[in-house]
Amino acid sequence: MNASAKSGIRRGVSLYSYQEEYFLRKLTLEQCVAEAAKIGAPGIESIGEQMMPGFPNLPDSFYEQWRGWMAQYGTVASCHDAMLDTKKYKHRLLTDDECMVEFERDLRHAAKLGCKVIRVLCMVSPEIMVKAVPIAEKYDVKMGIEVHAPYYFDHPWIMRHLEAAARLGTKHYGLVPDMGIFTRRLPRIARDRMERMGATPRILDYVCEAYESGQLSEYVIFEARKMGGNALDVSWAEQCRHSVNTNPKRLTEFMPYIFHIHAKFYEMLDDGTEYSIPYDKIIPALKAGNYQGFLSSEYEGNRHIQDALPVDSVEQVRRQHAMFERLLAA
């Protein structure tokens, strides 16, 4: 038995990670599953609208094929990422009843894939989630609100979700934290892209240092303007508003509500560490809380390098899993 099995933490990949290769038709859905299996990451997370053309109207034959792949590659469906397009109509939002139709659709799809969890976007309100709980219970699929920057565990919106879940006492309403909430350094690949687009290196560097040192976003944005920053410089400074650097120890405290983890990353370095996100702090916090679930890779570096550099998502994910293996065994 390996260390990760002992700790109850299992490795997985959100196929979101391979979006560049899928988009350019270099990998098929099946090949994405095979890549995850190859690096010993059996948990397969998927976005129906990304790699399952025809979603939500998929024929039974698709689900049979999917289950066949899971058996063939020794993988399991871990999580379906629900989108809830509340702005489907140009001049009005979906009504609550229409939202429930979408929840039913996504929970049924997840159950057919074999997922035990769906990821719900953080903008969905506690009131809507409470209404959806009976549907989640019916399919026995848990709904986790994504705790994604600029939200973080203690944010009032997330606290309202937790209060609503606690009030119901249900096991089907909780959280899917995205590890981007532990961004201690802004991704340097994003900084470099801003420079290629015409931002000022001196101001980009100032913003990176100011973020890392924990300065308040409003001051950093003001300072970037004062330094004579152009529109790109100011938008980089505004990144401080969209990024958060919270303490990974919070994971331990919120553990009873954590169903699944988005292991967001931007850049795996040659030394086997991630540039922005401290997995050497995150994994011990998960172990301390006795996390039982998947650590699901979410590679998001492609968008920052594709204008200038070759994208190799498969290699980036492989490196992240080598790091996970090392940290899980420690």
Binding site: Y16, Q19, Y22, F23, L24, R25, I47, E49, Q50, M51, P53, M83, L84, D85, T86, K87, K88, Y89, K90, L121, C122, M123, N302, R303, Q306, D307
Partner: protein
């Protein structure tokens, strides 16, 4: 995201109907990490050699169906799938003159969790044979 892949430049060509050149077309991909129903494609803008094309001359084809921009607004079944190459046609008698042209393409996508439309923008030099 995916902006640089929006225009499939090798697909640009004049469109011929009954021996007459009636316009030009090119393959286009969505600048987002998933597919969308067409009602959520807020707007498409095409410009050639710096000149914007009137919106009523634009047609969008996917899965063997063709839509005007106005029709896309209320299309809830057809989808522009992730990575799929749709065809954007510009109705313009005579099409483009042979040789190189600068093609610009903008997509505004209505993403439910974002307060503003997501804008994708690409510009490529295309060659008309």
């Amino acid at each position: 995201m995916f902006d640089r892949y929006m225009i499939c430049e090798e697909t640009a060509r004049n469109l011929t109907d009954g021996g007459k050149v009636t316009g030009f077309q090119f393959g286009a991909r969505i600048a987002y990490y998933r597919g969308l129903g067409l009602s959520m494609v807020e707007n498409l803008v095409v410009a050639v050699d710096g000149q914007p094309v009137p919106p009523e001359q634009i047609r969008f084809s996917v899965s063997n169906r063709t839509f005007t921009l106005a029709q896309m607004e209320t299309e809830y079944a057809a989808r522009w799938e992730f990575g799929a190459v749709a065809t954007v046609t510009v109705l313009h008698p005579g099409g483009l003159t042979p040789g190189e042209h600068k093609l610009e393409f903008v997509e505004d996508l209505r993403i439910s969790y974002m307060p503003f439309p997501l804008r994708g923008r690409d510009a490529k030099v295309v060659r008309i044979g």
